[in-house]
C-alpha cells in the first residue's frame, strides 16, 4: 500500500515538473508577444514594428510637454532613462498624466520618427503615500489635482 501511494506522489510531482518546464519554454517562445509595450530604446534601435500599431511605454520627461495653441494636440518626450522618443497625441489625457509620470501610448511612428499616439494610458507605480510625505520627499508640483 505504501508503495502505491509513493508511486502516485511521484507521478503527480513528475506531472507538475513537466508542466512547469513546458510552460517555461512556451512563455520563452512568446516572450516578445507578452510584452505589453516597447521601451524607447527598442524604438530607437528599430526593434519596434515600422508599419503597424504598437505600444510605447516610458516616463514623460520633465518640461517636455508642449500644448499646441489650437485644439487638444499635445507633444511630449518619453524616456526609459537611456533613449528618448517624441510623442504627439490629440485627445483627452488620463487624470494621472503629468510630467515625470510613467505612461503607455498606443500608435505608430511617422516618417520623421515622431510617435503619433491614438490612445494614452497612465501607468501607476507601486508607491502609495500621503501628500505630505510625497511633498517633503521630492517636491511634487502643487498642480497635481486628484
Amino acid at each position: 500500500m505504501r508503495i502505491v501511494k509513493k508511486k502516485r506522489l511521484m507521478l503527480i510531482l513528475l506531472m507538475i515538473t513537466g508542466i512547469f518546464i513546458a510552460t517555461f519554454f512556451g512563455l520563452r517562445a512568446f516572450n516578445d508577444n507578452l510584452m505589453y509595450f516597447f521601451s524607447a530604446t527598442d524604438v530607437v534601435e528599430g526593434k519596434a514594428p515600422k508599419d503597424h500599431l504598437f505600444r510605447l511605454g516610458g516616463m514623460v520627461v520633465k518640461g517636455s510637454v508642449v500644448r499646441q495653441p489650437s485644439g487638444l494636440t499635445v507633444q511630449f518626450v518619453l524616456t526609459d532613462m537611456a533613449k528618448e522618443v517624441t510623442v504627439q497625441y490629440t485627445g483627452i489625457l488620463p487624470d494621472l498624466f503629468r510630467e515625470g509620470q510613467g505612461i503607455v501610448a498606443n500608435g505608430k511612428l511617422d516618417a520623421n520618427g515622431i510617435f503619433i499616439a491614438q490612445e494614452v494610458l497612465a501607468k501607476h507605480d507601486e508607491n502609495y503615500m500621503p501628500p505630505e510625505v510625497a511633498g517633503s520627499m521630492k517636491k511634487v508640483p502643487t498642480e497635481a489635482t486628484p
Binding site: 501511494k5 502516485r8 506522489l9 503527480i12 506531472m15 507538475i16 508542466i19 512547469f20 510552460t23 512563455l27 516572450n31 507578452l34 510584452m35 505589453y36 509595450f37 516597447f38 521601451s39 511605454g57 489625457l93 488620463p94 487624470d95 494621472l96 503607455v104 490612445e119 494614452v120 494610458l121 497612465a122 501607468k123 501607476h124 507605480d125 507601486e126 508607491n127 502609495y128 503615500m129 500621503p130 501628500p131 505630505e132 510625505v133 510625497a134 511633498g135 511634487v140 497635481a144 486628484p146
Partner: protein
C-alpha cells in the same frame, strides 16, 4: 504526532464536531478584523498623493487578489493530498474552496477594472497580469464545472484535483508577470523582499483587511465543507447518531 493529528482531524465525525465549535470564534475574529480594517482604510488612512481617495479600493482589490491565489494553492494541495492518500476530507476541502476562490478572483478583476478606468484610462487591457488573473478565473470555473459534471463524487474529486494541479503553473505567472514582462499593471507593493513601498498608516489597515479576508475564507470553507460532508456521508452511521442526539 503530526500525522496522528491529521488522521484525527480528517475523520468526518471529528471534523464535523470541531468545526461547529470553531465557527463562532472565527466569526468574532472576522468581524473584529473587518471592522478595524474598514475603519482604518476608509477613515483614518491618509489620501494618496497622486490618486487621492481613489486609492482606497486597494483595501478590497489587493486582499481579494491575494486570496484568489492563496485559495488556489490550498485547493491544489488538498486536491493532491486527496489524490495520493485518498483522504475524503482533503477532497472536500479542495472542492469547497473552488467557489470561494472564484468569487475572490471575480472581485479582484471587477475592483481592478473600476480603478483602472479613472487611473489608467481603460477598463481593461490585455497585459500579462490582467490576462493571467482572468485565466485563473476560468480555471476556477472549469474546476467547478468539471466537478458538477461527474456523477460519482469520488471520481469527480480525482479529475478536479488533476486539473487544479495542472493550473498551479499559473500562480507564479500571475505573481511575477509584472516583473518578467512590461505590463500596465504596477509592480508589487507589499509582497516583495524589499521594504513595502506604501506608507505605514496605509499598510496597517491593508494587512487587517488581508487577515479579515483570510478568516472569511476559512469560515466559508468550513461551512461549505460541512455541507458537502453531510451530503456525501448521508448514509453513514455517525450522522444517524448525530440526529439521535438532536432529537
Amino acid at each position: 504526532m503530526f500525522m496522528r493529528f491529521i488522521y484525527k482531524f480528517s475523520s468526518p465525525p471529528y471534523f464535523y464536531a470541531i468545526s461547529a465549535k470553531m465557527l463562532p470564534w472565527l466569526t468574532v475574529l472576522f468581524l473584529v478584523l473587518l471592522g478595524y480594517g474598514l475603519y482604518g482604510g476608509l477613515v483614518t488612512a491618509p489620501a494618496d498623493y497622486q490618486q487621492g481617495d481613489s486609492f482606497r479600493i486597494i483595501y478590497v482589490h489587493v486582499p481579494a487578489a491575494w486570496m484568489s491565489m492563496f485559495i488556489y494553492v490550498v485547493m491544489a494541495i488538498s486536491g493532491g493530498i486527496g489524490l495520493v492518500w485518498r483522504i475524503k476530507l482533503a477532497e472536500i476541502v479542495s472542492i469547497s474552496s473552488a467557489s470561494v476562490g472564484a468569487s475572490f478572483t471575480f472581485l479582484a478583476l471587477v475592483t481592478g477594472s473600476l480603478w483602472g478606468k479613472p487611473m489608467w484610462g481603460a477598463w481593461w487591457v490585455w497585459d500579462a497580469r490582467l490576462t493571467s488573473e482572468l485565466i485563473l478565473l476560468f480555471l476556477y470555473l472549469g474546476i467547478i464545472g468539471l466537478y458538477s459534471g461527474i456523477e460519482d463524487k469520488r471520481t469527480a474529486s480525482r479529475a478536479v484535483a488533476i486539473l487544479a494541479l495542472v493550473g498551479v503553473v499559473n500562480i507564479p505567472i500571475i505573481h511575477y508577470s509584472v516583473e518578467w514582462w512590461n505590463t500596465l499593471h504596477q509592480g508589487a507593493t507589499v509582497t516583495k523582499l524589499d521594504k513595502p513601498s506604501i506608507h505605514i498608516d496605509m499598510l496597517i489597515p491593508l494587512l487587517f483587511m488581508a487577515g479579515a479576508f483570510k478568516v472569511y475564507y476559512f469560515i466559508a470553507l468550513l461551512l461549505r465543507s460541512r455541507n458537502e460532508l453531510l451530503e456525501r456521508e448521508q448514509n453513514a452511521k455517525w450522522i444517524d447518531e448525530l440526529l439521535e442526539n438532536v432529537k
